[in-house]
């Protein structure tokens, strides 16, 4: 698989493909730079997680991270193995 949601990704750098869903929370995501085409780095996984997007650190809840689809092709680290190190309780939520 080359696509993954941000909530399932571990530390590393990804390119955002799309943000699914709509409404206020999604607009808030997008205006912070979490929208298609941007490069997103996960600095600290967890809930909430810390990202670096367009030069700024952004705190993001895992719930919203689940709406962000990223391409893990360019990832620095393998997201699947990195996920194992992250707390697993958010996994069931989708």
């Amino acid at each position: 698989m080359s696509q993954i949601t941000l909530s399932h990704a571990g530390p590393g750098t990804f390119r955002c493909i799309e943000v699914t869903g709509e409404g206020e929370p999604v607009v808030r995501l997008k205006r912070m730079g979490i929208c298609s085409g941007r490069q997103i780095s996960i600095l600290q996984a967890g809930d909430p997680m810390i990202l670096r997007v367009v030069g700024a650190r952004i705190g993001l809840s895992r719930e919203l991270a689940a709406t962000v689809v990223v391409d893990c092709h360019n990832a620095d680290t393998d997201p699947v193995s990195a996920t194992a190190g992250v707390r697993g309780e958010g996994e069931s939520r989708d």
């Binding site: 995501l29 912070m32 730079g33 929208c35 909430p48």
Partner: protein, 710 residues
């Protein structure tokens, strides 16, 4: 920087004065760009909070000096995009669009961009430039950018954005003169207003408009600015510690503990001073008022003028205009006051007015110190981390992590807490937070807790301390529970998931902190002060009239050794307040309160601590003895009910404690709730739900304690 160029052409007015008097310059920018620092630097500390009718958001505005004249500058709330989410952001968008009559379209927009993070800031810039208003870009934090070895081609950027770009540093003052000059030139027609024809997203953009703007921002940024890869390392290193789930929460609680320690320790000196000064002024005024009015005509005139000037000051402070209704009310009250007997006037002046004003000002030191530290923490970038680490805990009650700072502030006083709730973006969450804040133990409750703890457990310091702990815990639990209930019922809504910028750590600005203190302090004195003054005068009247007939006075004096105290006791019992206490006795009897406690409960609506002195009067030991805790507690213990049993049993004490923890007995807070929510509806709701909860909880406490035999 000196302002040496301002004398150049004072005689020659600008060639095309575009209404120089009414010109408005608006500051717009992302949050955390140093926009407010720039505003404070440009306007000095002379800016004032303009409260526009119909907007619950404060806009700060001030006059800035250009080359030859002054223009008005408005600091519009920071925002990430013109797709506004919070009430504050909507104000900015409306102001830029001129869609509200109170805030006309600005003549010049100064767009503040953070040079250390230009790419992100360019997104808002692209939206603002699309508005085609005369716009100047201020590249702020140019000093920090230089220090971080960020290289920028200003003229190329200016060409690309097709507008004037001025590098400035609000912190050092660098470039401010140049900025004033460019604003002057733009306002008065010396510079052509450029047509902004940068890449826009109005046509041919399907899907995400933000993506197109970010693409544009990335291109412009890459072409004009070089950022070294080390940018932000220091902040990352600090964040690795402060944003960890457990360490982060512990760090936040330690920070707030230190802040609270400082608030209570630093505030005690000015609070004692305020107390002393108002006591002295009261004593002086008491002497100053003559025993009898020698010349009734002169007396009437003097008191009338005094009353009217007090009304003028009060109306000006509270922003009430002199309409026919308000003028008639002021004149009628001034005449009534002028006709009062001299003794009554003295009592009104000393107990009602001076005492009332003193009761407000005494909380000012705490509020100022609190806002000073909140401003420092916000400016440093730490507050965003606090919200981040508290997010998970606060989600349990359905509130965002940002609600935690107002909740902590409310432990000093609910009023600054409610004012601090503006950090919460979502309106529903903000409203829930405001509604539950007065449940948290504020410092006005402490004298009441002290009295009740002494009453219940004067023999056991440990148990007395546990009363305090219990009261604090009860307040917090009630606030969280109420928030949870409100989110489940009338203010139902999914919790807003967290998206928060964690800005780079910076050395906070003392000037900003000072500006915040002045601003918030003024709001407090104006809003709470005028309301408290009115309430304390009304309560004074209720506790004074009708007067005890002279025959009764003689009766009381003849049978007593402590004549003054006994007269005061009888007079209060005879007054409206005393009668009201008897009237509501059937309602409060199941809570274990007798009519005297009811009088205390009723008078504590001005400020909770008033209950202590009221009980001192109503139990006949005189107001001055309220300071002497032992006397008061001894007297309270001796009180019996008609059937001979003691009034202040453990059950009554606990019931009274629970009631004071939960009841909404603070009309100044209600005034601020009304101000922040924009309607009396929520203030009334707050009063009703808290009173109901207090009543039921006190009822359960008293009945179960009685049943258990306390």
């Amino acid at each position: 920087m000196t302002d040496s160029c301002h004398e150049s052409d004072t005689s020659a007015q600008p060639s095309q004065p575009a209404s120089p008097d009414g010109a408005v310059v608006a500051l717009v920018g992302n949050p955390n760009t140093g926009k407010t620092t720039l505003f404070n630097k440009l306007t000095g500390l002379r800016a004032k909070t303009a409260n526009f009718p119909g907007i619950t958001v404060d806009l700060r505005s001030g006059r800035i000096k250009l080359r030859s004249n002054f223009v008005e500058m408005i600091d519009l709330p920071g925002l990430y995009s013109l797709e506004a989410m919070s009430p504050e952001e909507k104000v900015t968008v409306n102001a830029l669009a001129g869609s509200r009559a109170q805030t006309p379209v600005p003549d010049v927009v100064v767009l503040v961009l953070d040079t250390t993070n230009l790419e992100r800031n360019l997104v808002l810039a692209s939206e603002v430039l699309d508005l085609r208003l005369p716009t100047i870009v201020a590249l702020n934090q140019i000093d920090a950018a230089r220090a971080a070895d960020i290289r920028i081609d200003i003229s190329k950027l200016s060409e690309e954005l097709n507008c004037q770009v001025v590098p400035v540093s609000a912190r050092t003052g660098e470039g401010l003169e140049a900025l004033r000059g460019v604003v002057d030139d733009t306002l008065f027609g010396k510079l052509p207003i450029l047509s902004q024809n940068h890449q826009s997203c109005t046509v041919g953009c399907t899907g995400c408009t933000f993506a197109a703007r970010f693409d544009w921002a990335e291109r412009v940024s890459d072409a004009n600015i070089q950022v070294p890869p080390t940018q932000g390392r220091r902040t990352d290193a600090i964040d690795r510690i402060l944003t960890k789930p457990i360490i982060g929460v512990a760090a936040f609680l330690s920070v707030m503990l230190v802040v609270f320690y400082l608030i209570f320790s630093l505030a005690s000196v000015p609070m004692d001073m305020v107390d002393g000064v108002f006591g002295a002024v009261g004593a002086y005024a008491e002497q100053l008022v003559p025993e009898e009015s020698v010349q009734p005509g002169l007396w009437f005139g003097a008191v009338f003028v005094l009353s009217m000037s007090l009304f003028a000051a009060g109306y000006a402070a509270a922003g009430i205009s002199w309409s026919r209704k308000s003028s008639v009310a002021a004149i009628a009250i001034a005449i009534t006051v002028s006709l009062l007997p001299v003794d009554d006037f003295r009592s009104l002046l000393v107990d009602g007015i001076i005492g009332g004003v003193g009761g407000v000002i005494i909380f000012l030191p705490q509020i100022c110190i609190l806002f000073f530290f909140i401003s420092l923490l916000e400016d440093s970038g730490y507050m965003a981390r606090a919200a981040f680490v508290m997010e998970r805990l606060m989600q349990f009650v359905g509130l965002p992590g940002k609600a935690f700072v107002p909740m902590l502030s409310a432990h000093a006083c609910a009023i600054p807490g409610i004012m601090a709730a503006r950090v919460i973006e979502n309106w529903r969450d903000r409203l829930v937070t405001i509604l539950v804040l007065p449940l948290l133990t504020c410092s006005a409750r402490l004298p009441v807790y002290t009295m009740i703890a002494a009453l219940l457990f004067s023999d056991s310091p440990f148990n007395a301390a546990m009363v305090f702990v219990g009261a604090y815990v009860l307040g917090i639990a009630a606030a969280l529970f109420s928030a949870w209930c409100l989110k489940k019922t009338i203010l139902r809504g999914k919790p807003v998931p967290l998206v928060i910028e964690l800005p780079a750590y910076r050395v906070p600005s003392l000037r900003n902190a000072l500006a915040t203190v002045i601003d918030r302090g003024t709001v407090f004195v104006r809003q709470a002060g005028t309301v408290i003054l009115m309430i304390s005068v009304i309560l004074w009247a209720l506790a004074t009239y009708p007067k005890l007939p002279p025959a009764n006075v003689a009766n009381v004096i003849s049978g007593q050794s402590t004549a003054d105290e006994a007269v005061a006791q009888e007079a209060l019992a005879y007054s409206f307040a005393g009668r009201a206490g008897r009237l509501v006795e059937p309602i409060f009897r199941p809570l274990g309160f007798d009519w005297k406690i009811n009088v205390g409960v009723l008078t504590s609506f001005a400020a909770r601590e008033v209950v202590v002195s009221t009980l001192a009067i109503v139990y006949g030991i005189g107001e001055d003895s309220a300071e002497d805790e032992a006397t008061l507690v001894e007297t309270l213990r001796r009180q019996t009910r008609p059937d001979g049993s003691a009034v202040f049993t453990k059950a009554t004490g606990f019931s009274l404690l629970v009631f004071f923890v939960l009841a909404m007995q603070c009309l100044p807070t209600q005034a601020v709730t009304k101000r922040e929510t924009g309607s009396w509806k929520w203030a009334v709701f707050q009063l009703v739900y808290m009173s109901a909860m207090a009543y039921v909880a006190a009822l359960v406490t008293f009945q179960s304690c009685t049943a258990l035999g306390f």
